[in-house]
């Protein structure tokens, strides 16, 4: 299994089979030092808030008793000390919390990324959805890390305060310890209802703004057809819904805020009354009375933290499960199974014609395509003329994005499906140059994706062989930043850069899909001239461009799913009317 786990540079991971819970445990375990430090400082920080009413109580008693100024100065210094210690501990705690939040989030996200980028594929959700899932859910898992240190402090302080209260006055302590948690519990139903509703409403808001974005992305289309008014009226519908749903969310929010604010105060009522009675009875001092009232207010803090922790853990687990679902998606290529079944059967073939052909397809089927038989001689340039679907299907299995339905593909003597996935790029590189993908980086960095050791001279040669003259003519040719998805370049330029990448790739065979579809006739001619003259490995061109096909050594014409004939472009034009229809569009 390790062979295809993404190679040496992949980050550590809990394994693809990990459940949501296991992902959380794995991430927490890697951060235990920060958790320990955060929990300790979190406790000191929270203790500062509990200590304040205690100190106030003592100070007031001493003041009432008319104690000396030195005594009061001592309390003043104590205040400063406690508050400062708590503040500094709070700062350390906050730093731990952010570290945990961020790193645990990144760990969870890295786990997802590793699976998404895994060569075995199988994940076909839209990338934008995966990113928002990854970032959003990883963030929610990260929050569990934050809560570990506040939560720990909260539990300890609850116990300490409870003991102190009971030691001071059993009846008053019991009153506080019953009234405060009861009031906290009263908020819970509101909280969970609020959570539910807000999730629904926020989702509605998000879908409305997605609709707004959809309208604007289609602005050019709509403008051309006078659809601006329609788009606006569609948005008015959505916006009205958005407005109403925001208002209904606000009403719940207002109820929640009103309750959360009021209930702790209502619990003060019995404490205030009964505590006062105890002072009148002489059971406790006025200072102790102030302390108890203060602690009753303080207790809301750890209880709220615990309530929040429960919510965060629930949300984090749900997020971890969503990540688990994606990560455990079964791969579309099962390299292991292929290796175990294939090795015995072809040992006889190995020495055979291994040197004559760089690439051989034997009765390969996939979907409606096939059986396809195709042989590509070493160092030859072979065109494959087929319709869109057939090209896509063939490219998919050659690139090993999906398994073939049957038959074998050999690269030299090796079966393609037995080559370790991490090694495939040394044998066969398949480039969809019809929809080239470029990084927002310099041109050179993009070219070095194909071969990291490429020199500037290599890169320039590759660009020249891909007819990128006007790109090279710029003074900053190679160092130029090409923008997000390379969008600062024209479509034709992106396409030729994809070819330059393919020419740099250290592979035995390169396969290009429609490398000239966005070029005008003149540029295509230049491209064909340069490309065909360049030193390059065995080349497969999957295309319907007659200009490109006419320059190939031979062309395999796929018709009705099978190779109808392999011959030169001109021969095919004369003998296969369907070929003419395909590449020239003539009837």
């Amino acid at each position: 299994m390790t062979a295809m786990m993404g190679g040496a540079s992949a980050p550590p991971s809990p394994g693809y089979e990990a459940t949501g819970g296991a992902i959380i445990r794995w991430a927490l375990k890697r951060q235990w030092r920060w958790i320990a430090l955060g929990a300790t400082t979190g406790m000191i920080w929270m203790a500062g808030f509990a200590a304040a009413p205690v100190l106030v109580g003592y100070a007031i008693d001493d003041a009432i008793d008319g104690r000396s100024g030195a005594r009061m100065a001592m309390w003043a210094v104590a205040f400063l000390g406690v508050v400062t210690a708590s503040a500094i501990a709070g700062a350390v705690r906050h730093r731990c919390a952010i570290t945990l939040w961020a790193t645990i989030g990144l760990l969870a996200e890295g786990h997802l990324t590793r699976r998404v980028l895994d060569r075995r594929g199988g994940i076909d959700r839209p990338p934008a959805e995966l990113v928002s899932l990854g970032v959003g859910d990883a963030n929610k898992i990260g929050r569990i890390g934050d809560l570990t240190n506040r939560g720990g402090g909260a539990v300890v302080m609850l116990v300490v305060v409870a003991v102190w209260l009971l030691a001071t006055s059993v009846s008053l302590g019991l009153l506080v310890l019953i009234a405060v948690p009861m009031s906290a519990a009263a908020i819970l139903p509101f909280l969970s209802r609020y959570d539910e509703r807000s999730t629904v409403e926020r989702r509605e808001l998000a879908s409305a703004s997605a609709a707004a974005a959809d309208g604007i992305q289609g602005l050019r289309t709509a403008h051309g057809l006078g659809g601006g008014r329609q788009i606006r009226s569609w948005f008015r519908e959505r916006s009205g819904l958005m407005h109403r749903s925001a208002l209904s969310l606000v009403r719940i929010e207002a109820t929640l805020f009103a309750t959360v604010g009021a209930i702790p105060l209502l619990t003060l009522v019995p404490v205030l009354w009964y505590g006062g009675v105890q002072v009148l009875d002489g059971t406790i001092s006025p200072g102790t009375f102030v302390t108890v009232v203060g602690l009753a207010q303080f207790l809301a803090m750890p209880l709220q933290t615990l309530g929040e922790a429960a919510g965060v853990v629930t949300a984090g687990r749900a997020s971890a499960r969503r990540i688990e679902q994606i990560v455990t998606t079964s791969a579309s290529i099962d390299a292991e199974a292929a290796t175990s079944t294939g090795s015995a059967s072809d040992s006889t073939l190995r020495g055979d014609r291994s040197n004559a052909f760089a690439l051989r397809l034997e009765a390969v089927t996939v979907g409606e395509l096939g059986p396809v038989d195709l042989q590509v001689a070493r160092d030859a340039t072979v065109g494959v003329a087929a319709d869109h679907q057939a090209i896509a299907a063939l490219a998919g299995i050659l690139a090993r994005h999906r398994p073939s339905g049957g038959g074998t593909i050999r690269v030299g003597a090796e079966r393609l499906d037995e080559i370790p996935l991490d090694d495939v790029h040394h044998r066969l590189v398949v480039i969809d140059s019809e929809r080239p993908w470029l990084l927002s980086a310099s041109l050179l960095d993009n070219l070095r994706l194909a071969r990291s050791s490429a020199t500037r001279a290599d890169a320039e040669a590759a660009l020249r062989n891909a007819a990128c003259d006007e790109i090279l003519a710029r003074s900053d040719a190679l160092d130029r930043l090409i923008g997000e998805r390379g969008l600062q370049l024209s479509g034709g330029q992106r396409q030729r850069i994809a070819t330059a990448q393919a020419l740099l790739a250290p592979a035995q065979i390169v396969a290009l899909i429609e490398p000239t579809s966005a070029l005008d006739a003149a540029t295509e001619s230049l491209y064909v001239e340069r490309f065909m003259a360049s030193a390059r490995p065995t080349t497969l061109l999957l295309t319907t461009s007659p200009r490109l096909l006419s320059a190939c050594d031979e062309v395999a014409f796929i018709h009705n799913g099978v190779v109808a004939r392999t011959a030169s472009h001109h021969e095919l034009l004369e003998t296969e009317p369907a070929y003419g229809r395909l590449v020239l569009g003539v009837e």
Binding site: P11, A63, R67, L106, T113, L225, A254, L268
Partner: protein, 629 residues
């Protein structure tokens, strides 16, 4: 044909367009202040209501330490249980007032905020939709989407969270100090002065440094999700080159940067919090010492001292919350500037002239298009088209050809009024299109661009986008004409099926069919096709073009194409090179003349492997009008 000059010109042109891409403007802060005044001013009564409710709520909240102080006074100065019961009742009343105040205050504040947001949302959206096509093209839809959704979201977040917090905390802080001053003005003054003095340094440092740190945190966040999106969507290419390893490194670097930036903002918050709490600690110490002294000298009661101490404990909490919201407020202001910038730009470019009703409105055939002495470019002094004179008679169908970058699409934009010429004019049916309102113009002159967008709406809505009044029968007929009905009829929801760009059933060919159905539904008198069928593979492109030819008969058609297949079927061919018309006439005549177009045609035929005999298959006699629709 050595066409390198054409291509290099194309790239130069696209570069110019990128560098000239005017960033969308920002409105000035004074404009934003004007907006805020206007928005709030029109809701003055609501605003006052919100403020009154908030004041009541904060007053109730601020009274609590006072009540506790009174309780202490009661028990130390010989009060009885009856007094305590009365205090408990007051406490209940205060709580109820707070609850009611919070509920209605929140609601009123939200209604106030949401109504502003709603107005703002519609205003920026309308403005964006009304932006001239040239602006949309130069800034790109990404930036527009960011302003209409992202910036509005930022504002909504601030309206829903930051502004209430700021209001509550400001009022809360004020209420706290006022209540303390009522209890004992000396202690209040001392607490505020010492607390502020001790915290001042930290607060100043925070105000100076925090904004940049928050900004960096946002940047690292967006660059990280950008990097993720890039790698996720390009994973097939990464696999092809075996380059996932470098991606992990790049992503890890982005992650580290993000953590570092988050820690930097955490550090800013920490320094703020520590300095505020230390300030509070000092103030508390001073209040306790002074309070005890006043108590001994008899100028303060035990209850008042208790209350003053409790107020001091609360002194800095609202300040912390307030300062931590400053960043959101700054964000909101920046967003508002961006939003107002779009609206200003859109209003400045508004075209309001109606289509003049000169003759009988019953004319339904094609209209004449006249381009007179037009010069236009994307960057000053670099004309993309120079002194173009061109008359296309009503009902004529013209193909515009030429190397890419020659100015074909620019010509299309000018005819449609998307771009305004530097000099000269473009007239359709003798009306100068420049100042005409877009919807009026589009009912007559439609532009079908290369990229088509399928809206995430029903098929019905998608087809009738240009003419919402179309009924189902008409829509079905349009779909039948483009061949789309064959697959739509099989859909369980038929015309109600919600489609989108990413809908699995929507192939490029189907999207193009829907788009052509839109044109038929709109039925404009002049149709400009800008590489409208270039994205399809040859087989379906041929079908679509034939259908289009059949549908558009008797309309004026300007067809921009880089494939020449259909040129022989049209009435006239115009070749543009380097910004000028270099050949013009019926296909056959131009071929016979062997001018620039003749050479282009030969190159095209040669490149596409056809023999000259094949060209004769495509004479105008093989007219698309003969094809069944």
């Amino acid at each position: 044909m050595s066409g390198a000059p054409g291509e290099s010109r194309a790239s130069e042109e696209s570069e110019r367009r990128v560098s000239a891409a005017d960033e969308l403007p920002l409105a000035s802060p004074s404009v934003v202040r004007g907006w805020v005044r206007d928005f709030v001013g029109r809701r003055r009564r609501k605003a006052v209501g919100v403020l009154v409710l908030l004041v009541i709520t904060t007053a109730a909240f601020a009274s609590i330490p006072g009540i506790i102080g009174v309780a202490v006074s009661t028990v130390t100065d010989g009060g009885d249980r009856g007094d305590l019961a009365l205090l408990a009742a007051v406490m209940v009343a205060v709580t109820v007032v707070m609850m009611i105040g919070t509920y209605f205050g929140r609601n009123a504040a939200a209604e106030f905020g949401e109504s502003i947001l709603d107005e703002l949302r519609l205003r920026v959206y309308d403005a964006t939709v009304a932006l001239p096509g040239s602006v949309v093209e130069s800034v790109g839809t990404g930036e527009l989407v960011a302003r209409t959704t992202g910036d509005v979201e930022t504002l909504a977040g601030a309206t829903r969270n930051a502004i209430p917090v700021v209001l509550f905390t400001t009022l809360g802080a004020a209420g706290n100090v006022i209540a303390m001053a009522i209890v004992d003005v000396r202690l209040a003054a001392v607490a505020v002065i010492t607390g502020t003095a001790v915290s001042a340094l930290g607060v100043r440092w925070y105000l100076r440094t925090a904004a940049a740190r928050y900004e960096r945190e946002r940047q690292t966040e967006s660059s990280r999700s950008g990097a993720l999106l890039e790698r996720y969507s390009g994973r097939a290419t990464l696999w092809a080159f075996g380059a996932t390893g470098t991606s992990y490194q790049a992503l890890a670097a982005c992650g580290d940067e993000r953590v570092a930036s988050q820690l930097a903002t955490a550090h800013a918050r920490n320094r703020l919090r520590v300095s505020l709490r230390v300030g509070q600690g000092v103030a508390l110490g001073v209040v306790v010492m002074l309070g005890a002294y006043f108590l001994r000298t008899g100028s303060l009661s035990a209850g008042a001292m208790t209350a003053a101490t409790l107020y001091t404990l609360r002194l800095m909490d609202p300040v912390t919350a307030l300062l931590e919201q400053l960043d959101s407020l700054q964000q909101a202001q920046a967003s508002l500037r961006r939003i107002a910038g779009v609206v200003e730009l859109s209003e400045a470019n508004d075209r309001i002239a109606p289509w003049p009703e000169i003759d009988a409105p019953a004319r339904r055939g094609g209209l004449e298009v006249r381009v007179e002495n037009v010069t236009f470019g994307y960057e000053a002094n670099l004309p993309a088209l120079e002194q173009i004179d061109l008359t296309i008679p009503a009902g004529q169908r013209v193909m515009v050809v030429g190397p890419s970058g020659a100015g074909k699409s620019t010509l299309a934009g000018l005819i449609c009024g998307t771009q305004l010429p530097w000099t000269g004019s473009v007239c359709v049916d003798d009306v100068d299109v420049g100042p005409i309102r877009r919807d009026e113009l589009r009912a007559r002159v439609a532009l079908v661009a290369q990229e088509t967008h399928t809206f995430e709406r029903s098929i019905r809505d998608n087809v009738s986008i240009g003419r919402p009044a179309a009924d189902d029968d008409e829509i079905t007929e349009c779909l039948q004409k483009t061949g789309a009905w064959s697959w739509i009829a099989d859909l369980p929801d038929g015309l109600d099926t919600i489609v989108s760009n990413t809908h699995p059933a929507m192939t490029a060919a189907r999207a193009q069919q829907l788009n052509l159905a839109r044109v038929i539904c709109l039925d404009p008198q002049v149709v400009v096709l800008d590489e409208a069928t270039a994205d399809l593979d040859l087989l379906s492109a041929g079908q679509a073009e034939r259908q289009l030819g059949a549908i558009l008969h008797d309309r004026t058609v300007v067809w921009i194409a880089h494939r020449l297949d259909n040129a022989p079927r049209l009435d006239r061919v115009i070749m543009i090179a380097d910004g000028r018309i270099v050949d013009d006439g019926p296909h056959d005549q131009l071929i016979a003349r062997d001018g620039p177009y003749g050479r282009l045609w030969d190159a095209w035929r040669a490149a596409h492997g056809g023999t000259s005999s094949r060209a004769s298959d495509r004479t105008p006699t093989h007219s698309p009008d003969d094809q069944p629709a």
